[in-house]
């Protein structure tokens, strides 16, 4: 570590990391386009110019992303010379930029727009038309490129070279004729494509699934955790006006995912937005399942459990630590221990992020003492049981509706899931909140806790599983009176 002065403030900086990193970690704002903390610095956009003084020599304006802190360095990011140089650079960057912010998806979170508002001149000096290029060039199913907006920072090029280590993009042609392209216009491959839309400092790379979906200032953003594998990448879930999840983006977390997320996690919101939710509860009556108040459904579940000697609690691996703990405490009254259904590892495992294990909270549940059973073994246990309670998001999907259907009709089943299951065995269905509607914690493969956030309200009459469990505790006889059953 070396001691340097930034804007009069003495700070300690790592001489192996660029000066801009030291500035940013001490809340000194330096604009950047080509620099990204997760990629190698190239120093090509030239916007991060700051004035640097070393020893007795007069201050020089240098790019902060290719200058490394040295003992005694005096940095001024706000000197008139630094401002002037950055302003000049900005004018060049805007020379061919179409300024179509009103129809650009990036508007509102665009680095170029922000810095232009902060620093730029009100009027342009060009008399020439801007260079006309392709406005919607498909780079495959995930990404659309707007060549006109591109400022050739090459972050996307370096991303593929350095993170998935499969170079796919390049800057083709020279000088002012440069454009980003894939080799022979082949579509992009792999499951890390979405990251380049986040990396793009302007609106040149956009997600096909997010194009024209929302203005970013209308999105509510909440910190959450991805549930698509046991890596548990930190995410930001963005919801449009409290209804639909429009976008999931990686949230910087150096302990887990760095700045990245795979496309499986990025686009894992169709089930969150899915229609046909079970909005409320259902209880078996003579003709079939019929709508009931949540309390009545919970009473029916309680009665069902009380009627049987043994109860099998099968839970989903998407259960949070908190839900797991509540259920563990409750299930003790029945002398039973919940078991989570553990799906098999899938083929998505790679060397970047994806672990191939679809259970986001395997470690958290295991540490609580809840064991996992593969689907087949879980079904065998179900066949031996007379009373089964299925709990958690996607539990029916994991077990398979056909497995429940194949059970003897005398078996009693209660379901706590987002969707109803209409089978003769099912005595009650209770709607629960999904992973975008509840709070809690998942513990990832390395033991790092990831919070999940309630980013949008639950549908009417739907509550989180935790609250249903609280109510079940209240509605059930006390532990002492059930002592005879608890062994």
């Amino acid at each position: 570590m070396v001691k340097i002065t930034v804007n009069g403030q003495q700070i300690e900086a790592d001489p192996k990391k660029p000066l801009i990193h030291a500035c940013h970690t001490h809340d000194v704002d330096v604009p950047m386009y080509c620099y990204h903390p997760g990629l190698s610095p190239v120093g090509s956009c030239r916007i991060c110019q700051v004035e640097v003084k070393q020893g007795e020599a007069p201050g020089r304006v240098m790019v902060a992303c290719r200058t490394y802190p040295a003992e005694g360095m005096v940095v001024d990011t706000e000197s008139p010379k630094a401002h002037e140089t950055r302003r000049e650079c900005l004018e060049f960057l805007l020379k061919n930029h179409p300024l179509d912010c009103p129809i650009c998806d990036k508007a509102g979170e665009c680095d170029l727009q922000d810095f232009t508002y902060a620093e730029g001149q009100a009027a342009g000096r060009t008399h020439e038309p801007r260079r006309p290029l392709e406005k919607r060039k498909s780079l495959g199913d995930t990404i659309v490129l707007d060549e006109e907006r591109c400022i050739l920072c090459s972050r996307c090029v370096r991303f593929f070279e350095e993170i998935p280590k499969q170079a796919q993009l390049t800057v083709s042609d020279l000088g002012s004729r440069s454009v980003i392209s894939t080799f022979m216009d082949k579509p992009l491959k792999g499951k890390y494509q979405g990251n380049i839309a986040d990396l793009c400092p302007v609106g040149a790379l956009t997600l096909t699934k997010f194009r024209f979906q929302a203005r970013v200032w209308n999105l509510t953003k909440m910190a959450s955790t991805c549930g698509e594998c046991s890596r548990g990448c930190s995410t930001t879930v963005e919801v449009l006006r409290g209804s639909d999840v429009k976008r999931i983006r990686p949230r910087e977390n150096l302990d887990v995912n760095g700045w990245w997320i795979c496309d499986i996690g990025r686009f894992a919101f169709s089930h969150i937005n899915a229609p046909n939710r079970l909005e409320g509860s259902l209880v078996r009556e003579v003709p079939g399942l019929s709508i009931a108040r949540n309390e009545d459904a919970l009473c029916a579940v309680r009665d069902m459990m009380m009627r049987h000697k043994e109860v099998l609690f099968l839970v989903s691996p998407w259960l949070t630590v908190e839900e797991g703990q509540k259920l563990l405490d409750y299930s003790k009254r029945f002398g039973s221990k919940p078991i989570f259904v553990s799906p098999e590892h899938n083929s998505e495992k790679d060397t970047v992020l994806h672990t191939g294990d679809p259970c986001p909270n395997r470690r958290g549940l295991t540490e609580l003492g809840i064991e996992g059973l593969p689907q087949k073994a879980a079904i065998e246990r179900m066949q031996k049981s007379k009373c089964i309670v299925l709990l958690g998001e996607r539990i029916v999907e994991l077990i398979g509706a056909s497995a429940v259907e194949a059970l003897p009709h005398a078996t009693s089943v209660a379901v706590f899931d987002c969707h109803a299951l209409d089978l003769p065995q099912v005595q009650a269905c209770v709607g629960i909140a999904n992973s975008a509607e509840r709070t809690g914690t998942w513990v990832n493969i390395d033991g790092v806790k990831g919070p999940i956030a309630a980013v949008k309200p639950t549908p009417r009459n739907v509550r989180a599983l935790e609250r249903h469990l609280d109510d079940l505790v209240k509605l059930s006889p006390s532990t002492e009176s059930m002592g005879a059953r608890a062994r």
Binding site: R46, E91, P132, R177
Partner: protein, 440 residues
């Protein structure tokens, strides 16, 4: 012009000097023999070159001995080390290295070997401009001949010095003549200049210590070894020693490449060598060292040609490629062509250069074609100041900005007149030409 001794082009003037046999007859490989047979240490070679005050002939005029001494001590840094010879001569107006390579290629081979010995390089890469087919073939043949005569390869001349020389043909990009762009290109990548530091002496070709020298620079080395550093230091002026090759082109009667000692005036060169300005016209402006230098006016022909004198006039010696422009020529049109060149050749990494070179080209084009706007001259000035100096990774941005700034400073009235009259009074009816880049 005073009489002076020549040495650079003596052999090149003889027909057939490109063959090893005649090269030896004309005194070739004596320098290399002296180095290898009298036991001169690499440090002694560098000292001799330092004593000669030889400055690089590639444009920047950096002291050659000093550059060689930047290579790390091999005892402390055992990495392999390389010498790259920059023969990617593409600066508009420059054509001096071509003469040496075509007519005296063994001089380059011998010079490269001495330089490689001084910096203890195990391999030399000669990066030849793609269009220089004859140069490439002549140097290649010279290397083959030299290898057969045990002058290149393992244990040269029976000594324990081994060095291989490889040829590489460029693909026509001006930017690959920039030393770090050249190295990227040699490595098989796009010729995008690298940010410095790290400097090539620490991390050059494939990340190893590398020195990049111009053809004419190393061509001087055998003469320095043979005749001594003090001999070269005695030629020329205080800050610039030796003879240099001056390529004079443009509106003169006898354009060509001439060998001259530093210290002659531009007027002497124009009148005694180039036969004066053609068609009895007057000199209006001239570039002293290729199109990247600041323009000078006809009045400046009394300037002494060396690094310091030209710097004092606000220009630079560059590669000593003088481009002469007579008084019938429109400066707007000259600058249109030059700005178009830099727009075409910018690599496109840095924002200022990528957009700025295009912008300059567009404005000069408009002015030259009678569509100038009243604020254009001020914009040109402001843009060029935003592009240079030292605001980008390499000096191409500066190369476009410097002539622009000088044209705006020296010929503001003429440019303003083009704008005011909405036509270029000096315009010559031009045949339609293809516009570089195709999207203007």
């Amino acid at each position: 012009m005073k009489a002076f001794d020549t040495y650079l082009l003596d052999r090149a003037k003889q027909d057939g000097a490109h063959k090893l046999e005649s090269y030896r007859k004309l005194g070739g490989y004596k320098g290399l023999e002296k180095v290898l047979k009298t036991g001169l240490t690499p440090a002694a070679v560098i000292d001799e070159v330092k004593k000669s005050n030889l400055r690089g002939r590639g444009g920047a005029g950096f002291p050659t001995g000093l550059k060689w001494s930047f290579m790390p001590d091999p005892a402390k840094d055992p990495r392999p080390r390389y010498l790259a010879i920059n023969a990617d001569e593409s600066e508009p107006g420059t054509c001096k290295d071509r003469v040496l390579m075509e007519r005296d290629p063994h001089g380059l081979v011998e010079g490269s070997l001495i330089a490689a010995y001084a910096i203890r390089a195990q391999a030399v890469y000669i990066y030849v401009r793609g269009e220089y087919r004859l140069s490439h073939d002549r140097v290649r043949d010279a290397i083959l001949e030299a290898r057969a005569a045990k002058l290149v390869g393992k244990n040269i001349l029976g000594s324990d010095f081994s060095c291989e020389i490889y040829m590489h043909k460029g693909a026509g990009a001006y930017i690959c003549g920039e030393e770090t762009g050249l190295m990227e290109s040699l490595e098989g990548k796009r010729g995008h200049p690298r940010p410095k530091p790290p400097f090539p002496a620490m991390s050059g070709l494939w990340g190893q210590p590398t020195t990049v020298n111009n053809v004419e620079t190393v061509f001087n080395a055998p003469f320095i070894i043979e005749r001594g550093g003090a001999w070269l230091a005695g030629i020329g002026t205080k800050g610039s020693s030796g003879n240099f090759l001056c390529g004079i082109s443009g509106h003169v009667n006898k354009p060509g490449v001439y060998e001259l000692p530093f210290g002659v005036t531009a007027k002497e060169i124009i009148e005694d060598k180039a036969g004066g300005i053609w068609k009895g016209r007057k000199l209006k402006a001239w570039f002293p060292g290729g199109s990247s230098c600041a323009l000078l006016t006809g009045k400046d022909v009394d300037v002494v040609l060396d690094h310091d004198s030209l710097k004092a006039r606000g220009s630079s010696l560059g590669t000593a490629a003088m481009i002469m422009i007579d008084d019938s020529t429109s400066i707007a049109r000259v600058m249109e062509i030059i700005a178009r060149f830099y727009d075409h050749e910018s690599c496109g990494q840095c924002s200022q250069c990528r957009e700025g070179t295009q912008w300059l080209a567009q404005i000069f084009r408009r002015i030259a074609h009678g569509k100038g706007q009243p604020d254009d001259i001020d914009t040109l000035d402001a843009l060029a100041k935003g592009m240079a100096p030292g605001k980008t990774i390499c000096a191409l941005s500066d190369a476009a900005a410097i002539p622009t700034l000088s044209a705006v400073r020296l010929f503001k009235d003429e440019l303003m007149e083009c704008v005011r009259k909405q036509r270029d009074p000096l315009a010559v009816k031009q045949p339609e030409y293809a516009v570089a880049g195709g999207h203007h």
